[in-house]
């Protein structure tokens, strides 16, 4: 699964370049996020703007990634498309994550906070 990483200030932004995080992709997603976030210490923003479908396995993989990062490195979400947002809402998992409209919004809020 193609996920790219970019570090801006105190945030690592991971962008998922795939249309689906489903049962087929879940393990690969977890492994790739794990690799990309090793050797880093910042909070992470997961940009899901290119993802238009997620199932419960994909959702589980995102929760697993959050747990792996631990308490001191929060995993935030950004750019939820309608169906992805619906899955987070119906499972109430939207309460567990901080959700930004875009990675840019996360960066701006982060800068305000640390100013």
């Amino acid at each position: 699964m193609n996920i790219t990483s970019e570090t801006t200030g105190d945030l690592q932004i991971l962008t998922v370049h795939a249309p689906r995080i489903d049962a087929v992709a879940a393990i690969q997603f977890k492994d790739t996020v794990r690799e990309l976030t090793a050797d880093q210490e910042t909070a992470v923003v997961l940009d899901l703007n290119q993802v238009d479908f997620i199932d419960s396995s994909g959702l589980g993989a995102i929760v697993a990634s959050m747990k792996h990062l631990g308490k001191d490195r929060p995993l935030h979400l950004a750019g939820l498309t309608p169906i992805v947002a619906k899955v987070f809402a119906l499972t109430r998992m939207e309460r567990v994550f901080r959700i930004f409209s875009s990675p840019m919004e996360a960066v701006q809020i982060d800068q305000v906070k640390s100013a």
């Binding site: 049962a23 747990k67 619906k86 119906l90």
Partner: protein
Amino acid sequence: MPDGYFLTPMHGTPNTPAPPDIHLVFPATEMSVRRALLSLRASLKALAINELAIGFVEIILAEVANNIVEHAYPLNESGTVTLSCSKAEQGLRFEVSDRGKILPGGVIPPTKDHDLDAEINHLPEGGFGWGLIRDMTSMLMYKRDEDRNILRFRDAFAKV
């Protein structure tokens, strides 16, 4: 030629139901589920179902089919999933069947009530499937017919 000849239904007598609009049979594997969902998506588009409604249907069917792949058939045993869909005035009607294990207790599992205020390490990574299916469908019904599991439902796009 008797009067009303052309009023005879194209498909059998009134006692035999019309064939579904979509009928798919696919192997019970994660990759085949993905392919079947893409095929279903194309067929629903051809039936003039709108994009958002198609996305909703895709969530329901992904959960139903992946449950069959993960729980109904034992690992390394091949099986198939049969899906049919009919467009009716009230919305889309679905039937999904398989020849795997019966659902636990022979009933549709309840929605799991997860503790989302739990400490991060105790947050749920699974068990969302039947909750999503229950939330997004109406007239959800399960039947064990000899060696077959049959799940019937309507999409409840308007409900959510």
